[in-house]
Amino acid sequence: MKSLCEKYAAKLAAQRLADPGEPLIGGLDAELAWNREDPRTAELAKVFDLLSINSLVFSRPAEPYAAIIDFLASRHPETIRPQDTETRTFLHDIPVCREFTGEAVAAHLKKRKSVIIPGQGIASFGTVTPEQGFVFYSSTIFSCFVLFFSEYLARARAGTLDDEYREVFASVSAGLSDPCTEPPALAAGPLETEDQALAAMAEAGRAVVGYGLVDSFFGNISCRLNDVVHISQTGSSLDELEGCIDPCPMDGSATTGLTASSELSAHEDVYRRSDYRCILHGHPKFSVIMSMDCARIDCPNRGQCHIKCTECRTMDGVPIVPGEVGTGPTGLCNTLPPAMARTGAALVHGHGVFTAGATDFNEAFIRLLDIENRSRQRYFETVKAHE
């Protein structure tokens, strides 16, 4: 348990979601173990007494995330309700807890998967492994980031910005790291054998995480080899894909895709409709923000854009489609494949970007990176035009 706690503490730092040495992760089997010593563990240990959990993740996020969550908590004193897909599907909303006591934290975690404690950090838990707490923590940061920038843009459009928001926005924006513009040199195609395909997928997955185009979870990646789609498994970390790729025959002769990413259907249909061989799916933050930005303030579908939008929206020519995770009548499996097959890239409202390549992951990666950088540029241009 202790080594798992240490692993996820290191991962939080490596992904710049927390400063090194900040995270406190506790794991409980027969005994409670922490990744490191800290006086706050005495208080946090009470959460284990009050809830039937086996792990707790607590940390102050790295900047600019800490400033973002504290600001949002001041604007939404009880609950923060981001509108992106990750929140809508998995988190529902994020409660704010005003006291750093085991009792108060436990009371909030009783209801939701993570809680923000202003000035202190974010706490989340797992009932199976610390990995769950890590995922909830990272999703909370992602969702808050998206909400912070989306709300600012919406207010700028509506002319309702106030000085405090402007000030925090300026300092948070100044704290953003510079965008990466140089793509990596990934294995060159054609990818002809299973070994080549699997190695190329693992390499591309690491690069997507390394470039900050996804927070290791919730993205996915696939490669078509003859009539078999090799795809990352559900909930796998894109930077640790070795052994976590499922071969799924397109002729329906096996059901090994049971553990495949929930987007298998969408990937398969893109391959059926096109000659692409590789697909990358990430959640780059500004692409997600821009996918949700819409000038039609009086649209009757407001609030349900993620499933009901009928407009042909684009971000710099890249189509933006509605659709929820996975299958189902409003699933992105229906909307994404036609858009992707046409252009090789598409954004899903509030969710992320899919890009394809004809021979290897270089083309898909360059598109993904380019879409994010262009989204970021458009975001700040749009804000400026309305400020």
Binding site: D29, I53, N54, T89, K111, T127, T234, T256, G326
Partner: protein, 582 residues
């Protein structure tokens, strides 16, 4: 009494000796403490838990939950519970079909059947009307009972019955519900037979009062969104499209398909016997329990019920058969005779190992028929193996035959099998969820690290799920957080997911208390020796070693500690008091 929301507030007691039906209004605190379904049934079983299974006073309990007959997803299930004639311990089966929904609509949270009719009988419940009458269907197979009664009962009614196996005293006897759903495990059919009860019908026309319809709608949407995002449930390769058999390919690739009575873990012919092969051959259509959008059940184009994953696996790999049609026939035959397919397959595999004789299609089907006649074969694998002087060949825990997940390929599963209150059952903690299906996150299947607590928490969770009553499969995607919201919306009782988990803990501990009263202790929380001494079938980069006995025992010790049991696995006074079970 103030009217309840969600629950009906009425438990119907039927005494088959006197023919009397009485209505009881349990105190609302009982509902809060035990929810419904498995929990409430366990509460009613406790005072009688040590009665012999043919004692007329031993109740057969049929309970719905607070969510039945509402729009909460997959809430159409019910619990049937009693003491198991197979294990001697408690036994509850979660069963689908229309049973739970009709029971609630008829105005009851549960049914407590006691006594013994002088002659074989059937019960017919239609809202407030309860009739007990003699039946001439004793001795008939379940399909005959359905054929005869289905057209005679009101449309939409739920019909349950037993087959000849239970009547002939086989503790592998199941209860068939609405033709295609079985309360299979633990021999509850035999308890029904001991009451001379062949069938019962329930039809209700009432509605369940929901406290907050909008809140329930919101919770429903959250759950539906999560299940749509689940590859296992609604994905292209998931249960909805292929049935539970879709797990077959994974068990093969993970090298944990029990083969030749668990002597090996890989079946060379698996690729041609998977769900895709059945789909091609039998063009199944979807079917499900009332109120379910997943619809994991399948019906073949010729109208036969498609086998579940465990049946597919046990009637091929475990017994050395490669004929799909024979699996279909064995499944039909078991259901018709009222035999649990998992136990039946496993008992035949045990016989094959001991005699060294392979089955032909004829001898396999004959074996099933013989089981239903109630002789040695029909008493289950443990009895058979002991009678034949080879107790080591019985792949059972607490006398219940193991299902189709080899414990050497998933260590959490091995612990879950061992400590399960029901015996060799995969559904109590269901660690396959994270060890194989990666939900809610993946865990290392070849490690006991952290597993003791995970097993305990999942047992509590599933106890709550079976008490609500929802379908466990939904929890590959949703969690108690979303179901707590649905529960609160339906009942008006504020509840968080963690509070449901606490109730789950009480419900599960109550089962340990009942089992302890029947003499179960640590010696019963164990696996067959084979798993500690013989390896599985390694290969394809996977090494299937025997389980390390010491590490297993260490994990079991941790489990006892975490569960609040003493070193012998027995309930403690302190924990019993803490959970208000004294």
């Amino acid at each position: 009494m103030t009217k309840l929301f969600g629950w009906t507030g009425v438990v119907l007691h039927i005494d088959l000796t006197t023919g009397q039906a009485t209505r009881e209004h349990p105190d609302p605190s009982v509902y809060r403490a035990f929810l419904g379904g498995k929990g409430l049934a366990g509460h009613y079983l406790r005072p009688h838990a040590t009665r012999e299974t043919d004692d007329p006073a031993l109740p057969l309990l049929i309970f719905a939950g607070p969510l039945n007959a509402t729009i909460a997803p997959t809430s159409g299930r019910a619990t049937i519970m009693s003491r198991s004639p197979l294990t001697g311990g408690i036994c509850d089966d979660s069963v689908g079909g229309r049973l739970g929904t009709q029971l609630k609509r008829a105005g009851y949270d549960g049914l407590v059947i006691t006594g013994r009719s002088d002659v074989p009988c059937g019960i017919e419940i239609s809202d407030g009307d309860v009739r007990i009458s003699g039946t001439d269907l004793w001795g008939r197979t379940s399909d005959r009972v359905f054929d005869r009664l289905e057209s005679a009962i009101p449309k939409g009614a739920s019909l349950a019955c037993i087959g000849p196996a239970s009547e002939n005293g086989s503790p592998l006897g199941s209860i068939l519900v609405d033709r295609r759903h079985a309360a299979g495990r633990g021999g509850l059919g035999m308890v029904m037979a001991a009451k001379n009860l062949k069938h019962f019908t329930i039809k209700g026309t009432g509605k369940v009062r929901v406290h907050d319809k909008n809140g329930l709608k919101e919770a429903r949407e959250e759950i539906l969104r999560l299940t749509a995002a689940s590859p296992v449930l609604l994905g292209r390769h998931g249960f909805s499209c292929w049935g539970t058999g879709s797990i077959f390919d994974l068990m093969d690739s993970r090298r944990m398909m029990p083969t030749d009575n668990f002597r090996r873990t890989r079946f060379e012919n698996a690729a041609s016997l998977n769900a895709a092969a059945y789909k091609k051959r039998f063009s199944p259509r979807r079917h499900g329990c009332t109120g379910c959008h997943i619809m994991c059940k399948k019906i073949a184009d010729d109208g036969r019920t498609m086998p579940e994953f465990e049946t597919m696996s046990h009637f091929t790999a475990l017994v050395g058969n490669t004929d799909m049609e024979l699996v279909m026939e064995a499944n039909e035959l078991c259901n018709g005779l009222g035999l649990d397919t998992i136990s039946a397959g496993s008992t035949l595999a045990c016989l094959r190992e001991i005699t060294g004789r392979d089955f032909t299609p004829e001898t396999l089907l004959d074996g099933i028929r013989e089981m239903a006649r109630g002789g040695d074969l029909g008493q289950g694998a443990l009895h058979l193996a002991e009678t034949m002087g080879r107790p080591d060949a019985a792949m059972t825990v607490k006398g219940m035959e193991l299902p189709a997940y080899d414990p050497r390929g998933a260590y959490g599963m091995s612990l879950a099998y061992a400590v399960s209150t029901r015996g060799g059952c995969h559904l109590r903690a269901y660690p396959i969820s994270h060890e194989i299906l990666r939900k809610p996150v993946a865990t290392d299947r070849f490690s006991f690290s952290g597993k003791a607590r995970i097993i305990k928490i999942s047992e509590d969770m599933n106890a709550a799920v079976d008490s609500l009553t929802a379908c466990k499969f939904t929890f590959f995607a949703a969690s108690l957080e979303e179901y707590a919201k649905a529960f609160t919306a339906v009942t008006g009782v504020d509840m968080t997911g963690f509070e449901l988990l606490e109730i789950g803990e009480r419900i599960y501990y109550n089962e340990r208390i009942m089992n302890a009263a029947n003499g179960f202790d640590a010696a019963d929380d164990d696996l067959p020796q084979r798993f500690f001494t013989e390896p599985g079938t390694s290969g394809g980069g996977v090494d299937i070693r025997p389980l390390d006995r010491e590490t297993f025992l260490e994990a079991r010790r941790s489990y006892y500690f975490i569960r609040g049991l003493d070193e012998d696995g027995l309930p403690t006074e302190a924990k019993t008091r803490e959970l208000e079970l004294d």
